[in-house]
């Protein structure tokens, strides 16, 4: 993990994303200002259409806001070129998707190594790092398996290894257990917890309360706005970054 700057990992300022659907303007995200500090474990909650995924895509620099600002590690992203955004995603953000999004007919090790191709590492280095991460995920005996030869939980662990292989600052997971059974979901959440314990920031988008229970902070979206932002259960929240304080 690299030394962080002391600035918030993610800061959004009055973030808006609107779509024009047949002449009607829809505000998927409608003026969200948030701070997420290094080392947090955040659950972003909300029903389908609440804007939580759109929000995550914008802080993940996959989607461009209609207005407002996203700052990653203190750096504004609004004026970045698509190439600069690609480098930023490669270096600082690890994505975990609901459908795993592994390349078919490609071994675990090659799947995990994909981000390192774009980081410009040579092949032996890519293999070494990918192997390390797969072993960390308990998949040391599945290095050469293709996704078709892996269970759902194993596939998601390969995907997590891939998200971590560039040593990013944060893990962004969009419904990471949506395609998994309850027991496997618990395994995945345990992994997130231990990753967070080791210092990495984890942000999980989910609509399931049981999943959100694992986080330390819970942010709830409805109609494109944050309607609730609070620490979870009896855990202590490291940084009291609430909407009310930021604005």
């Amino acid at each position: 993990m690299e030394q962080h700057s002391g600035k918030p990992l993610i800061e959004t300022r009055d973030l808006v994303k609107s779509y024009n659907l047949g002449g009607e303007i829809i505000h998927a995200v409608n003026g969200v200002s948030l701070l997420i500090e290094h080392g947090e474990y955040v659950a972003i909650m909300g029903t389908s259409g609440s804007g939580k995924s759109t929000f995550m895509n914008m802080i993940g620099c996959l989607d461009v806001p209609t207005s407002g600002q996203v700052l990653i590690d203190g750096t504004p992203t609004a004026d970045m070129s698509s190439d600069e955004l690609a480098v930023l995603r490669n270096e600082k953000i690890g994505f975990v998707f609901q459908q795993f999004n592994l390349l078919a007919r490609t071994s675990s090790i090659d799947n995990v190594a994909v981000p390192l191709i774009y980081a410009g590492l040579d092949k032996p280095e890519r293999r070494t790092r990918a192997t390390e991460k797969l072993i960390d995920m308990g998949l040391g005996d599945r290095l050469l398996n293709t996704p078709a030869k892996l269970s759902g939980g194993q596939q998601q662990r390969v995907a997590i290894a891939r998200a971590l292989v560039t040593e990013p600052l944060m893990l962004l997971a969009d419904e990471p257990t949506g395609a998994l059974d309850t027991r496997t979901s618990e395994e995945i959440m345990a992994i997130f917890e231990s990753l967070n314990a080791s210092g990495i920031t984890v942000i999980v988008v989910t609509h399931e309360d049981e999943i959100a229970e694992h986080a330390k902070r819970r942010i709830e979206f409805r109609d494109g706005k944050v309607i609730e932002d609070r620490p979870v259960g009896n855990r202590t929240v490291a940084v009291g970054a609430s909407l009310a304080e930021d604005v």
């Binding site: 690299e2 993940g60 996959l62 698509s82 995603r89 994505f95 390349l103 191709i117 774009y118 040579d122």
Partner: protein, 421 residues
């Protein structure tokens, strides 16, 4: 957890191409049948173009060879009678032995001249018969046309003076009449008249399907007296004459000199059409080079259409591939691929497809060329230049027809692409 930071190290241009080739091969393998069918288009195109180029080169080469085989430094003089009123007028347009002697005397650089009278004659032996083209000429003919006798002897001045009934046989004619048996000294009846065989002509092979060994040579006086005399306007007239020049002599100048001598002798005034025509081997070469050049251009143009169709097939399949793999493109972008990384990935895929197809097409063209050379006796040379050229052109084709789909892929928005089902 291992925690070595992974940066900054954007580099290694070659390695990234290696990765792209690996990705391309995986993608092509994934849709193997489709890849093969797409390659087939390029394969046929490269095959056709390569073969067209090679056939054109071969035609050029074989025309050169056959012109050279008839003596490379030579002028041919043909009388051109007027054809007015549908009747040949021999008042103008004659060529005689005296004209040849004048040319030999007055034109510098000439080694020898040889007249020619030609007629198709029936040859009969005890056991066989044939009909062949007989040439009546003088001893210099063998040297000028590069077709001497290599067994027995050629016709001599004495034979010409005495109008001797002697024959020099071409190899094919000899074989037809005598088989393996040595014919020198034997008798052949030519249109009923007995002739003695005095020699065999060197083997020459065929040119454009014409067997140069199916011929006989006899003294010009003999053929004139016995076979063609009454078809000619005068006792000294010729159908055709050859003039051989020294090596290095200018044929352009030689042609001018011969023309001037003949103009003088036939009193052709300026502005009048010459009653004869002088052609040189150099002109034949230039003309045939021009013609084979056109032939080659036409062949290549037609073949290029199939290459174009192959290229469009590549573009089509790459567009399909980009559409099918939109989600993969989105994923790669999420994981840090720049637009240029995606563009290069698909460009390389198109180029790999083309180069593989091109390599197979080239191999097939090479085999077809070798077969043509071996069985049709027609040289189809595919040199290293043609081979490398067609491979490079295949790669170029891939880049050209792959660029539109590749650029389209590189401009996708990461999130739109990821959302695609």
């Amino acid at each position: 957890m291992a925690s070595v930071p992974v940066r900054p190290r954007r580099s290694n241009f070659l390695a990234s191409w290696g990765v792209n080739i690996a990705i391309a091969l995986t993608a092509l393998h994934t849709n193997l049948m489709r890849s093969i069918l797409t390659m087939l288009g390029v394969l046929i195109g490269v095959f056709a173009v390569t073969l067209a180029v090679a056939v054109g080169n071969g035609a050029q080469e074989s025309v050169m060879q056959s012109i050279n085989s008839f003596g490379s430094n030579m002028a041919i003089i043909v009388p051109e009678p007027d054809n007015e009123g549908g009747r040949r007028s021999f008042d103008r347009g004659r060529l005689t032995s005296r004209d040849l002697r004048a040319i030999e005397r007055e034109v510098p650089g000439i080694i020898a001249t040889a007249p020619q009278l030609r007629s198709t004659l029936d040859l009969v032996t005890a056991g066989a018969s044939t009909s062949t083209s007989a040439v009546g000429t003088t001893p210099g003919y063998g040297q000028i046309t590069n077709h001497p006798a290599d067994r027995g002897r050629y016709i001599s001045e004495a034979d010409v003076r005495s109008a001797a009934r002697v024959l020099v046989l071409g190899r094919t004619t000899a074989e037809t009449l005598f088989g393996e048996f040595d014919p020198v000294g034997e008798t052949v009846r030519v249109d009923g008249v007995p002739f003695q065989v005095i020699g065999l002509l060197e083997e020459k092979g065929s040119t454009f399907g014409t067997d140069n060994d199916d011929t006989v040579v006899m003294p010009i006086s003999t053929i004139r007296q016995r076979f063609v005399g009454d078809t000619l306007p005068g006792p000294d007239d010729l159908q055709l004459a050859f003039a051989g020049f020294e090596e290095g002599a200018s044929l352009v100048q030689g042609k001018i000199d011969i023309t001037n001598v003949l103009k003088d002798r036939y009193r052709v005034r300026d502005g009048e059409i010459n009653p004869f025509r002088v052609r040189t081997t150099q002109e034949f070469m230039e003309e045939s080079q021009f013609i084979t050049g056109i032939l080659q251009a036409v062949l290549v143009a037609i073949a290029s259409i199939s290459l174009l169709v192959g290229g469009i097939g590549i573009m089509n399949i790459m567009l399909v591939s980009v559409t099918e793999r939109t989600r993969e493109i989105g994923l790669r972008m999420a994981l840090g691929a720049k637009g240029s990384d995606i563009r290069n990935q698909f460009l390389v895929e198109a180029a790999v497809l083309c180069v593989l197809g091109g390599a197979v097409g080239l191999t097939l063209a090479w085999l077809a060329g070798a077969a043509l050379t071996a069985y049709a006796d027609f040289p189809v040379p595919i040199g290293i230049g043609v081979a490398l050229g067609s491979l490079a052109f295949s790669a170029f084709l891939g880049l050209v027809f792959g660029s539109y789909p590749a650029i389209r892929a590189s401009r996708l928005s990461p999130i739109e692409a990821l959302r695609t089902e």
